[in-house]
């Protein structure tokens, strides 16, 4: 006898977990299948989780799903209180304060790292689900879905098949469920962004000092101009508690036109003098060990130095974190906080004097990652269901991507609640038919304010930008834009123009708005003419892609989860450049794949047979 469950949720990201929590809140039984060994090890996000307060309609926010507990003890990083847009050209930067745009219709926006946050979500959702006879099963990769009567049989690589009455597909932008069911074609480069991110280490109080923020505040900095290397997209830098998320997000089709290695885009950002100054830190550099010493002595010195540097790093993090300082003193390890500082100095002295360790200015990179981001304006599923399978979040192609406004996590959570509500209603009636459940979900999604944002230009949001750019002389940003600015400055005309644009159709306008002009030329011009000069005090040492990959953790699978279909196609040839971890190379006239370094972003998915790795296999992110 096959086991049977009411609901199977596929994918343990923020959306899948929210669906599990919501269903459990409603007293329904659901199980969630996650391919990673633990929830959170496969998740990557640019890094801001919003809670929205729309003008009309309602959204389901993270705190609605998880309750007041979320605000009390969820491991979010920092509440973003400053939101800046920088136009760059070489060493010149022109800055606009877009905090008003960030706060527009928002209760809050937190910077987050998903490894920790999703683990917290999983604990809460898992406990609630357990009470309803469900729960989270990790390390399980769903291979196929098939239908027998009104039941769906779920097959995995790891477990015996089981039945479910309803399925929620939350398996991300590279949704295999979408492919298995044929419910939507794979996304095309025009519909996607490629995001690459590095997590940079920086002690807590140094962050606060450098960004001019308090202990409970955070800053977000966006970059456009020459840092984009003439591609359509931009860079970002968000402050976390004691790390920074630094990344680049680019129109995938722009990268297809003129392929650039993804890491060169991040490197360009890191090399920008402003960013370089933001990420800089004090780094200990080991001195070469004297090769003339006896072998044992060399070994002893190497161990001693490594250990001291580790201690120095750890103590330094403690010294720059009030909470960590307090904890160490309370634990009785040190009598006073000053004693920690004294110890830190003595370790540093020992390193410098005894072992000739140099302390230099550089930055410390912790994790390199990449992800595809769906642009909801272009690829949100019109009917986000197939039979009794409901698609949510990235899997349904739903993300809000408007200028600097990038929202995905909160959209996925809102979708998930709507899907859970539709499923719960279907369980009550024992009717999982597409009319009763799928159509109803489709309707709920249609009512979502996020869907409205994916379809229409919001004139109030436009105004915020115009206000932010009020001081910019109209003539210096090119004739075309100058005219638009002047036109839009009047409330009535703006209302008319936006109204007209919405009638014309948002999608028809996009190629005009999202162009190289907007993302590169105008910012460069702004920076050149109005920017202030910024000088970097050092040159960051940028790791190679091989070094970045070497720092990642993997559970290797001998069998590749990706199959190249046509090793001679133009698309695959571009993958040699576009794969963030350089898994593809040319051999003779053929593109060959070495899958071991794959970080499962799906950039190559369009023309490959692309699967997520089997349960527990593949990349294991530590930060997310």
């Amino acid at each position: 006898m096959m086991e049977s469950y009411d609901v199977a949720i596929i994918g343990g990201g923020s959306a899948g977990l929210a669906a599990l929590k919501q269903l459990s809140n409603l007293g329904k039984q659901a199980i969630l299948l996650e391919a990673g060994k633990q929830v959170g090890t496969k998740n990557i996000s640019g890094g801001i989780l919003y809670s929205k307060k729309p003008k009309t309609g309602r959204v389901y926010n993270v705190e609605d799903v998880y309750g007041p507990e979320f605000l009390k003890d969820a491991p979010v990083e920092r509440k973003i209180t400053q939101y800046m847009l920088h136009s760059t050209s070489r060493n010149k930067v022109f800055t606009m304060n877009l905090t008003a745009a960030h706060e527009y219709q928002a209760n809050f926006g937190y910077s987050v790292l998903l490894n920790r946050l999703n683990a917290w979500f999983a604990r809460h959702a898992g406990e609630s689900a357990e009470r309803q006879g469900g729960g989270i099963v990790s390390g399980v990769h769903v291979r196929s879905l098939s239908w027998q009567g009104d039941k769906t049989v779920v097959e995995t690589d790891e477990l015996e098949p089981f039945e479910a009455k309803a399925v929620i597909a939350a398996d991300g932008v590279n949704s295999e469920v979408a492919e298995i069911t044929g419910s939507r074609p794979k996304f095309t480069p025009e519909q996607l962004y490629q995001g690459v991110k590095v997590v940079v280490k920086l002690p807590e109080e140094i962050i606060e000092q450098r960004f001019g923020i308090g202990p409970d505040e955070g800053a977000a900095h966006l970059f456009a101009g020459d840092v984009t290397l003439n591609h359509i997209g931009g860079g970002f830098l968000y402050t976390n508690r004691d790390t920074l998320s630094v990344g680049a997000v680019y129109h995938y089709d722009s990268l297809m036109d003129r392929p650039a290695e993804p890491y060169t885009l991040v490197n360009a950002l890191l090399k920008n003098p402003m960013v370089a100054e933001f990420v800089k830190d004090e780094v200990a550099i080991k001195e070469e060990i004297d090769k003339n010493l006896p072998k044992e002595e060399q070994l002893r010195v190497r161990f001693a130095v490594s250990k001291l540097i580790k201690t120095w790093n750890e103590l330094r993090d403690v010294w720059y974190s009030p909470a960590a300082r307090k904890k160490l003193v309370e634990a009785g390890k040190y009598k006073t906080e000053e004693e920690i500082k004294a110890r830190l100095d003595s370790v540093q002295n020992e390193l410098a004097n005894k072992y000739h360790t140099k302390f230099v200015t550089d930055y410390v990179e912790l994790e390199y990652s990449a992800k595809l981001v769906p642009d909801g304006k272009r690829c949100a599923m019109k009917k986000p269901y197939f039979k009794n399978v409901l698609f949510v979040g990235d899997a349904a192609g739903r993300g809000v991507f408007i200028g600097p406004r990038i929202e995905g996590l909160n959209v996925g959570i809102d979708d998930a609640v709507r899907a859970a509500n539709a499923v719960a209603r279907a369980i009550d009636r024992n009717n999982f038919g597409p009319q009763y459940m799928g159509e109803y979900y489709s309707q709920l999604i249609e009512e979502s304010p996020y869907t409205r944002d994916m379809k229409e230009i919001d004139k109030d949001y436009v105004k915020i930008f115009l206000d932010a750019a009020r001081d910019v002389p109209k003539d210096i940003i090119g004739q075309r834009y100058g005219m638009v600015f002047r036109l839009m400055s009047s409330g009535t005309l703006r209302g008319l123009a936006v109204g007209f644009a919405n009638i014309l159709g948002y999608d028809k306008l996009l190629p005009l708005v999202e162009s190289e002009d907007t993302y590169v030329q105008v910012p460069v011009e702004l920076a050149e003419k109005m920017g202030r000069p910024i000088q970097a005090t050092y040159e960051p040492t940028l790791p190679t892609v091989a070094q970045r990959v070497a720092r990642l953790k993997y559970d290797d699978d001998r069998i590749s989860h990706i199959k190249v279909l046509d090793s001679k196609s133009q698309f695959m040839k571009k993958m040699v450049t576009l794969c963030p971890t350089s898994c593809y190379s040319m051999e003779g006239g053929d593109v060959t794949l070495q899958h071991e370094a794959c970080i499962e972003c799906g950039t190559c998915a369009k023309e490959t047979e692309w699967r997520h790795p089997r349960g527990e296999k593949g990349v294991i992110y530590q930060y997310g």
């Binding site: 469950y5 199980i31 898992g126 357990e130 729960g135 989270i136 099963v137 477990l159 015996e160 089981f162």
Partner: protein, 292 residues
């Protein structure tokens, strides 16, 4: 709810893992310096008991004979198998026990447990004694069917039958897997290669649930712990400890290091003639294999 009762007998052993073990100058184990942990084979036995808990909702008891600090072995075992009860049989009288005297204590303890035991698990052997006798002797004293080298088992709850697969090594030849059936109660000595696998959603969910419970329980393991001395246990003093031991270990000798018997010959890599000699020699050794 549980209608399957299982027990595991475990042993606190020196931690032989790298970096933790310490020897005296004469080559004997320095027991004071070496940390003690739950023996690796006991750990495997515990995970086999956990399988019974996850699959059949079994109630699990863990028992050990040893000094008071042996309760740490029970705690570690509880973390592995989410034990409902922990038993420590501890008395000066038990000191110097060989396998037979140990089996007497364990048998008496297991017989005293609430509810009739259906399966008793033990490890394959201890990592310090290596005799592998305590398990079988306890089985014999209990009068249970003994199944050794078990790599996998299932219980037919309806018919109260155990189906087990045993790994039998025919030394120097090959390994065979034997499938056996036995009515409960049985004593299972678990093979070191045993690995529990959970293949259905419900098993995985139960696994998660009990694992979480195990963590919580092991943190407060004393709450589940009962300590018995010889008198409370009601053992016959003649059958336990030194008096009950027909064997004693009176001397341990180190195995002498084998003398190296390799002879090295230096070949000049630029000399073709000498290289040809190497090739011929390699050909002799690997025999007929084609080297490309």
């Amino acid at each position: 709810m549980a209608n399957l009762n299982v027990a595991v007998i475990v042993k606190l052993e020196p931690d032989f893992s790298e970096g933790n073990v310490s020897y005296n100058a004469d080559g004997t184990l320095n027991r004071a310096e070496t940390k003690s942990i739950l023996g690796p084979h006991s750990a495997v036995a515990s995970s086999a008991a956990f399988y019974a808990k996850v699959r059949y909702g079994a109630s699990v008891a863990v028992a050990t004979m040893g000094p008071p600090i042996a309760d740490s072995a029970l705690q570690q075992a509880q973390l592995l198998c989410d034990a409902d009860e922990l038993y420590l049989y501890s008395d000066r009288m038990f000191a110097g026990a060989d396998t037979l005297a140990t089996a007497e204590v364990l048998k008496t303890g297991i017989s005293k447990l609430e509810g009739k035991m259906d399966i008793v698990f033990s490890g394959h052997r201890a990592s310090d004694g290596e005799t592998g006798q305590t398990g079988p002797q306890t089985a014999w004293k209990l009068g249970f069917t003994f199944l050794g080298n078990v790599i996998d088992y299932d219980v037919d709850m309806q018919n109260r039958i155990v189906r087990a697969r045993r790994m039998i090594s025919l030394q120097g030849f090959y390994d065979v897997v034997e499938e056996v059936e036995a009515p409960l109660p049985v004593f299972i000595a678990i093979d070191p290669s045993y690995k529990a696998s959970f293949n259905t959603v419900s098993q995985r969910l139960a696994f998660e649930k009990y694992q979480k419970e195990a963590k919580e329980r092991a943190q407060n393991y004393k709450q589940y712990l009962k300590v018995f001395n010889a008198q409370q246990l009601g053992v016959d003093p003649k059958l336990v400890g030194l008096p009950g031991s027909p064997t004693i270990v009176y001397k341990v000798e180190r195995i002498p290091k084998a003398k190296a018997s390799r002879r090295a010959e230096v070949v000049d890599g630029t000399n073709r003639e000498q290289l040809a000699k190497v090739a011929t020699r390699m050909y002799e050794v690997v025999g007929g294999m084609v080297i490309k």
